[in-house]
């Protein structure tokens, strides 16, 4: 192989290592960015929606208590507003199904909420339910707790998934770091190797050639440098050897 190609191959290998490591690091970093976005978009949105639903449920529960105390208009106002708020929260959660199995949680909340809604949609004021603490504790509050626990389950499910994704991020960060670390160490070792080969195959023969020429010109010691490689340095040594032989024969003739 010729000299130019050898040197070129050395630099090419070094460049290749760095480019590939760089490309991979960029890819992993991009992946990391997507994971962060996924946490924000997918899980956090569902968690916020669940919180809205829980808050709405609690307000509905307060509304029921007001109805039981006979305050119809205040109770109805709170319940209607909370119902709208709950529906919005449920809508957000239903349109943001990103984890396998999340759909079933939504369906459970929907069906349980329907049961709960049927309880407070029927008249309470001026009926036997007004002031009936047993009815509240056994029917209304029980149903409220049932829906609330389902919403909590949805929130925990998203929480867990968010935690898992965040844990994976740690691994991804390590992964995006490692190609760079490996490339740096490889480049160092490679530079050391390249330096050794350049010294052994290029610098050392040139030094030997120079010394042999000096010995020839000074003391007429025959030029004798053995070059192992089949490249320009070998050609150079051969040419110098021929030149020395010609010079020597001309000097002998004179």
């Amino acid at each position: 192989m010729r000299l130019r190609l050898k040197i070129f191959s050395g630099f090419l290998i070094l460049t290749l290592m760095l480019i590939i490591a760089g490309a991979w690091t960029i890819y992993e970093l991009k992946n990391m960015g997507s994971s962060v976005q996924a946490i924000l978009d997918d899980n956090y949105k569902s968690i916020i929606a669940a919180k809205v639903m829980i808050e709405a449920l609690e307000r509905e529960d307060s509304g029921i208590l007001l109805l039981m105390l006979g305050q119809w208009s205040e109770g109805r106002e709170i319940i209607t507003a909370a119902d709208n708020s709950f529906k919005k929260g449920l809508e957000i959660a239903a349109n943001n199904i990103t984890i396998p199995g999340e759909q079933s949680y939504i369906e459970t909340i929907r069906s349980k909420y329907q049961i709960y809604k049927e309880i407070w949609e029927r008249p309470i004021v001026d009926t036997h339910k007004q002031g009936d603490l047993n009815w509240y504790l056994e029917i209304a509050h029980e149903s409220f707790l049932d829906v609330q626990s389902s919403v909590n389950e949805l929130m925990s499910y998203n929480d867990q998934f968010m935690f898992d994704t965040a844990s994976n991020l740690q691994n991804k960060a390590k992964r995006s770091l490692m190609p760079g670390v490996v490339a740096i160490i490889s480049a160092l070792v490679f530079t050391f190797l390249f330096n050794y080969f350049v010294n052994y195959y290029f610098v050392s023969p040139i030094v030997r050639i120079t010394k042999s020429i000096q010995r020839f010109s000074k003391d007429r010691v025959p030029f004798d440098v053995r070059i192992e490689t089949n490249d320009e340095i070998y050609d150079l040594a051969e040419s110098i050897n021929n030149l020395c032989l010609v010079t020597e024969s001309r000097a002998n003739k004179q």
Binding site: M1, K6, S9, G10, I13, L16, M17, I20, A21, W24, Y27, N171, K174, R175, M178, P179, V182, S186, V189, F190, L193, F194, Y196, F197, Y200, Y201, E228, T229, N230
Partner: protein
Amino acid sequence: MRYNIVLRYVGIVLLLNALFLFISSIISGINGDQAFLPLLYSSIVVGLFGAFPLIFVSASGSIKNKEGLCIVVASWLASCFAGTLPYILWGGEFNFTNAWFESVSGYTTTGSSILTNIEILPMGLLFWRAATHWIGGIGIIIFVLAVVPSMRISGMVLSHVELSPIARDNFQHNTRKTLRILLRVYVGLTLLETISLFMCGMNIFDAITHSFATIATGGFSTKNLSIAHYNSVPIEIVIIIFMLLSGIHFGLIFSTIFEGSKKIYKSIVVRYYILAIVTGIVLTTFNLYKDQYKNLFNALRYAAFQITSIGTSTGFANADSSIWPALAQILVIFFALQCACAGSTSGGIKADRFVMLWKAVIKQLKLLRHPNAVISVRIDDKIIKSDILAMGVLYLCVYLGLVFIATIFLVALGVDMLSSFSGVVATTGNVGPGLGTVGSMSNFSHIPSLGKWILTGTMLLGRLEIYGLVLFMLPQFWKTN
């Protein structure tokens, strides 16, 4: 020493590693798992490092013994370093120490693992783990010598360094033919086992990886419970048969199959090896029967598998031998020290040296009775020279000394004595699982980092039969010409 020549040969070895890394990355790519990029990048880096010296250094006609030793040791170390790359790049439980442990354990065919959950690894990485066993099984250099034709010129020097003197005895051919025999038997046994396991119900991926691990007497499984995962008697029988075969001198297997020779039946070493394992199985079975297993068949099943696995230095498991009674555990320790025959892929002290030692003891007893008698030690009609005999005994002493010293270090690091001793015995013999907290159903993850480095040192020393690595590390080796 011509370092450029050493670098050229190490480069060729790295290229072979790069090829297997690339195959693993293809598997990973087909499976669509997360190990694709780590494996591909590793194959590129290792390939570039391997190819670079070939650009500069032209092939050399001959190499000196010292260069040969340097090439062999440097190739093992370079391969082990190359093997860490995909693990580090993949992440998970792998920091550098853990990746180094897993890589050395793979190449030296030890089969000890730091992984608490193997099944979480992507398919490509599982294949790479098994491939490291297969590359290291008959010896990295032997593998390369047999595969790369241009390296056969230097084959004699290199194979003499890699193959132990007692392993060379049964090869009556020139180096080239010896290498061809080794490769044929190696590949042939692997293919046969893969087909057999597949027919027993294993999926093709598991069949290949378990065959790699069996024929190399490695022990890396793709399952957390090792072979116990399959709970299949036919699979266990197939693996027992191939573990036993992998523990016999490959030259004897070849001459039996291809040359119709009956040497395998007459060989005293093979007879002793089989007899020792059968005796071990019988003793363990009766020790386990009623104490551990109410059913005699189950006692025989687990004893046969575990004793063969340890006795051939494979390290697969179908039961947890660390909860077995004392006699069974002592037998496990004995077989982990002895292992199988020289010239196979097995590690340990080797059955050959035990036979040699026994014959030397007999000789000494005879000499006590007849001090002037001329008594020669013979193994299979061959006279064993007194210097080889002395070397065998010396090796035994050095080996046990190494086990003792490494155990002291591990105990000093806070590891309990049984785990330390059995762990060192298992890693020095390239067996894999020990007893106690490093038993067949446990792993080495809890061992302190320094302890892991000590254990990888013992793995390499055991694999290179101590002297080679020690010589390589002595300052005098680098000073003298």
